[in-house]
Amino acid sequence: MHESREHLQTLTEIRSLMERSSKFLSLSGLSGVSAGVVALAGAFVVYTRFRWQTLLPAPYGDRITSQLHGSDRTFLILVAVAVLALALLFGVYFTIRKAHRQGLSVWNNSSRQLVRSMAIPLLTGGIFCLALLSYNLIWLALPSTLIFYGLALVSGSKHTLRDVESLGYCEIGLGLLTLCWPSYSLLAWATGFGLLHIIYGLAMYFKYERNTA
């Protein structure tokens, strides 16, 4: 009896080893929540400066978008960079905290794989969106960030919590949908990066972390 329990214990350990070695499971739900809050703040800052009309596509807003000065573009890029930096900062902080609590290292085989698989879609998307921005196609750049971010999540989900995959599909769907109603692009952006992150983060937090936190 005692021996069979020992064997079961061994099997459980091996299963956890397989999972831990191939998946990065220290991703914290709070990282998602903080990224969402930062994104909402960023979207609000952009909204107060431009209102909706400025971000309309050519048929409706050609007159206005053509007036988008260099300074406006710099402002948009600055906000985007600030949002990205803050979201990453908080995200990395909460994830490091969770990894430490689990007694795991943060920079290991599985996190390297996660970063690598997300990097290609993200870098491609980043450069693509900068190009759109340089042509003043802001209404197109906003959904594009959603689509490429969603692709990065789907590709990265193999190396972390499976739930990330569904978040990725939501972001892609939202991005594609926004292409049909571009006047809502800022709203969609705030929903995708803000609201969805907060909902996903809270769901993950309550699903995996509440008991251990």
Partner: protein, 99 residues
């Protein structure tokens, strides 16, 4: 009956450490010595012995390279190793079902 089942058990995978090493290599393309050490919590000597045994059996292949000046040894499962491990697991399963 049981005797026959036991014949399919592979001696190379007998210890818990070796079972763990092979399991981890089944789900990862390759893994470094240090990654193994961190995952399994074994001492250098102990881990090296187990890895060498699996290497000698032809179940694990070793790639030695340098990152800058630091040597970096990575391990991956060979096709023979994957097949042998799968057969071992099947034998285990059949054995457990037979109980």
């Amino acid at each position: 009956m049981n005797q026959q089942l036991l014949a399919n058990f592979n001696k190379a995978f007998e210890s818990k450490a070796r079972l763990s090493i092979m399991s981890v290599l089944m789900v990862n393309d390759s893994l470094s010595f240090n990654a193994f050490k961190e995952l399994l919590g074994l001492t250098d000597g102990n881990l090296a012995t187990h890895l060498r045994a699996l290497e000698e059996a032809g179940f694990v292949s070793v790639q030695k390279q340098f990152i800058g000046r630091k040597p970096n040894t990575t391990y991956s499962a060979t096709d023979t190793g994957r097949q042998a491990f799968t057969e071992h697991l099947n034998a285990l399963e059949a054995f457990i079902r037979g109980i």
